[in-house]
């Protein structure tokens, strides 16, 4: 069943909202923030794409959010932006499902909870941090604050989180369990994650992101939330685009067949561990990768989906490159022909893939 994208809410290192994403697309790159972490073992300076949540307080008073962590605030903010974009901020949400995809969940809150008992003993464990660290806490905050009483789902599947969760959102709509789905992709930065990435990748985490240079580790950590208001395409024309299909599989077990004529947005984000899968499957194809706008994190597949939807709405494909034996050569924006389709492809390190096809 085709899903219509009626609204998008997004926040990341490029700013907040669809217009900020559009600006970033036109500029072609976003400069990450300079972050400093001081530990007793030394000072660590590095780039990161961080997301600001100040805009959330336009929707809710600060007091109502005082026990909600950063992860859930990012989630709630983008959910509100998506509803606002769809003109549905004041609508009844008793038949609106909530589906959230996250690669890692509320990591910082998990470590905040560990802090509470490592610093003060187990009898001083923080119930607030614990309950917010549970993976579905963000979905719960969205449901509570937005009075969404239909089914709620949180999925975590590392790089495959977005296509996997989207598959279930699609079936909820197809089965008539809900009339709309508020679908979100969220991941957050935390210092421990930075430590791990530095240990794994060393200087490769210093950027700048070169997603199509498959031989080089160039990822820069990012965070953010991308939300979509999805409905059945049979009932309502799409404000942005339609999601035609969602396919998941493993290229090693059963080779992926790519749609021949689709323009491709790929989830390559500067991680060498996944690069070989793209190299194997995309030689000779024209592709685009947008990690230089928002950084590297599993839920960035949702950001790719937002770019695809925006591209189809605007009839404009922002910069692409031809992959082959030579270094990819990037070209600037090109118009999309009428009826032309886009596919978003994301690989995990083991050959797992998610393919999301979209059309106007």
């Amino acid at each position: 069943m085709r899903m219509a994208i009626q609204g998008i809410g997004i926040s990341g290192g490029f700013g907040q909202g669809v217009s900020a994403l559009q600006d970033a697309l036109q500029q072609g790159a976003v400069t990450p923030q300079a972050v400093t972490v001081e530990r007793s073992s030394g000072v660590d300076n590095f780039p990161a794409y961080r997301s600001d949540i100040e805009g959330l307080y336009e929707f809710f008073p600060k007091r109502a959010l005082r026990r909600i962590d950063h992860f859930s605030k990012m989630t709630l903010h983008s959910a509100c932006l998506a509803l606002q974009d769809a003109g549905l901020l004041e609508s009844d949400r008793s038949r609106t499902g909530v589906v959230i995809a996250s690669g890692y969940g509320a990591m910082k809150t998990t470590f905040d909870f560990l802090d509470s008992y490592l610093d003060f003993g187990y009898s001083c464990s923080s119930p607030t941090h614990f309950s917010n660290s549970v993976h579905n806490a963000a979905a719960a905050h969205v449901s509570m604050q937005l009075k969404a009483t239909a089914p709620s789902l949180t999925v975590t599947q590392f790089e495959m989180s977005v296509p996997s969760a989207l598959l279930t959102a699609q079936l909820w709509l197809a089965e008539g369990r809900v009339d709309q789905v508020l679908f979100g992709a969220v991941d957050e930065y935390c210092e421990v994650l930075r430590y791990c990435r530095k240990q794994f990748f060393g200087a490769g985490e210093a950027g700048p992101v070169a997603p199509l240079d498959f031989d080089r580790q160039s990822a820069v950590v990012g965070e953010g939330a991308a939300f979509f208001v999805l409905s059945r395409a049979t009932e309502q024309a799409a404000a942005y685009a339609c999601i035609e299909s969602v396919t998941l599989g493993n290229h090693a077990a059963w080779p992926l067949t790519l749609p021949e004529d689709d323009r491709l947005i790929i989830g390559a984000d500067g991680h060498k561990t996944c690069a070989d899968w793209y190299r194997q499957t995309l030689s000779g194809r024209r592709v685009a990768a947008y990690a230089p706008l928002y950084g590297s994190f599993p839920a960035a597949a949702g950001f790719d989906l937002a770019v695809a939807a925006l591209s189809l709405r605007d009839g404009n494909f922002y910069q692409e490159a031809l992959l082959g034996t030579e270094a990819p050569k990037t070209t600037t924006a090109t118009p999309l022909a009428s009826g032309e389709q886009l596919s978003c492809l994301k690989f995990g390190p083991g050959g797992d893939y998610g393919l999301i096809r979209l059309a106007r």
């Binding site: 490592l118 719960a140 009075k147 949180t154 493993n250």
Partner: protein, 395 residues
């Protein structure tokens, strides 16, 4: 709804037993084995009993101890038991679209407190525990070990995760997204959740007493419960464990950790599942309730069951397994199907004295079943409620 989702295999391990047969044996003997945690320690002044696995298990892995988290190992053990029960092996699954949908909580949380303690000290901890975590998404582990091709999904809906995973897996089959789905839940006991639940003051210092007037809270447990789902059309002639005929879920949108006082989300989930299953409350043989033994959960659940399914016998099996969090829905679904096959349910262990505030009480002795449908329900953090309805199978 089409009744086209067949259950062809069951696999389970928990504090009640190392496989489904052992679990059923201890439950129908009304035996349980709570004790202070053995696999980890804390400086907490109070010791809360838990239900850990009573034996070690062995997987066909050279590096079982280090390659995957315990949660993923539990999931794999249950998956292998369920596949064998369904008559499948890894080789015979080649070329089929096999989906894996697993519910968990601990299995996707970076609960690495030893690693983090070292990090906090300013030292640079080694990354083995992180590498293991990154290898151990439970659905991906099953797919990888069995070399499957199909959708994978880990549902992290807290304590309803396992129930939701089976409902979603059935949906994948009905939509034609897969030929076979391995679905259920898995979770290990963890010092982090042990500390977390004690901070919420909902763990009991004694064996739990679901629905009893003197209930003081839950006991944590660990384990996995998985089912093999297949399209009815493709299993002609195969003896079925049962059918998934209804699934419903809804969110209270009320409180992060407490159920809605009127059980609104649970009622909606029950209504959705009953409508999908096209069965009436009178046709339900029994309910495998969430029944954690916490004051709030059991009060709300008893009231809702009394209102929506009056007179239908119900039990909580958490007295035997403890609350296995993301695994609970999977384990309880397996028990529900297995009990229907036996034609009886075990006594709700821990229940002795009725609570006057609860309008309905669970069965107190092993009880024969008189109908061919049964229901398993889960209530969760975040206000999630999920309900599955099963039809009795052939064995």
């Amino acid at each position: 709804m089409s009744r086209g989702v067949a259950v062809t295999g069951l696999g389970c391990l928990s504090g009640a037993g190392m496989n489904l047969a052992e679990c059923l044996d201890s439950m129908f003997r009304n035996q349980r084995y709570p004790h202070p945690p053995v696999r980890f320690s804390t400086d907490h002044p109070v010791s809360y009993p838990v239900l850990e696995l009573r034996d070690e298990f062995q997987l066909p892995l050279d590096d079982q101890e280090t390659i995957y988290t315990r949660t993923s190992q539990l999931a794999l053990v249950a998956a292998l038991e369920a596949l064998a029960d369904a008559g499948w092996d890894a080789e015979s699954l080649r070329g089929k679209r096999v989906g894996v949908c697993i519910g968990t909580t601990v299995g996707c949380a970076l609960n690495c407190d030893d690693f983090y303690r070292t990090y906090k000290s300013g030292a640079n901890p080694k990354l083995q525990v992180i590498e293991r975590f990154l290898r151990s998404n439970p659905a991906a582990v099953i797919a990888r070990q069995l070399q499957l091709n199909g959708p994978t999904q880990v549902v992290v809906n807290a304590c309803s995760s396992g129930t939701d995973a089976i409902g979603i897996g059935a949906s994948w089959l009905r939509a034609g997204a897969c030929d076979i789905v391995i679905a259920g839940g898995a979770d290990e006991l963890s010092r982090v959740t042990y500390a977390g639940f004690s901070s919420l003051m909902i763990t009991a210092t004694e064996p739990c007493k679901p629905f009893d007037v003197n209930r003081k809270g839950l006991n944590l447990g660990e384990g996995a419960g998985l089912v093999i789902l297949e399209n009815e059309a493709s299993v002609a002639g195969k003896a079925l464990r049962g059918r998934v005929i209804g699934y419903g879920s809804a969110c209270d949108a009320h409180h992060l950790t407490a159920p809605h006082p009127d059980g609104l989300g649970l009622k909606r989930a029950l209504a959705e599942a009953l409508t999908m299953a096209e069965v009436t409350p009178e046709q339900i043989a029994f309910v495998n309730a969430h029944g954690t033994g916490t004051p709030d959960n059991d009060r709300i659940e008893s009231r809702v069951l009394h209102e929506v399914l009056p007179g239908v016998p119900f039990i909580s099996t958490k007295g035997y397994t403890g609350h296995t969090l993301g695994a609970a829905g999977g384990i309880e679904a397996v028990f529900t199907l297995a009990c229907m096959a036996r034609g009886e349910i075990p006594a709700n262990i821990g229940f002795a004295d009725p609570d006057p505030a609860l309008p309905s009480t669970p069965v107190t002795v092993n009880t024969s079943l008189k109908a061919d449908y049964a229901l398993s329900e889960s209530l969760a953090f975040g206000g999630n409620n999920a309900v599955l309805i099963f039809e009795k199978g052939d064995h």
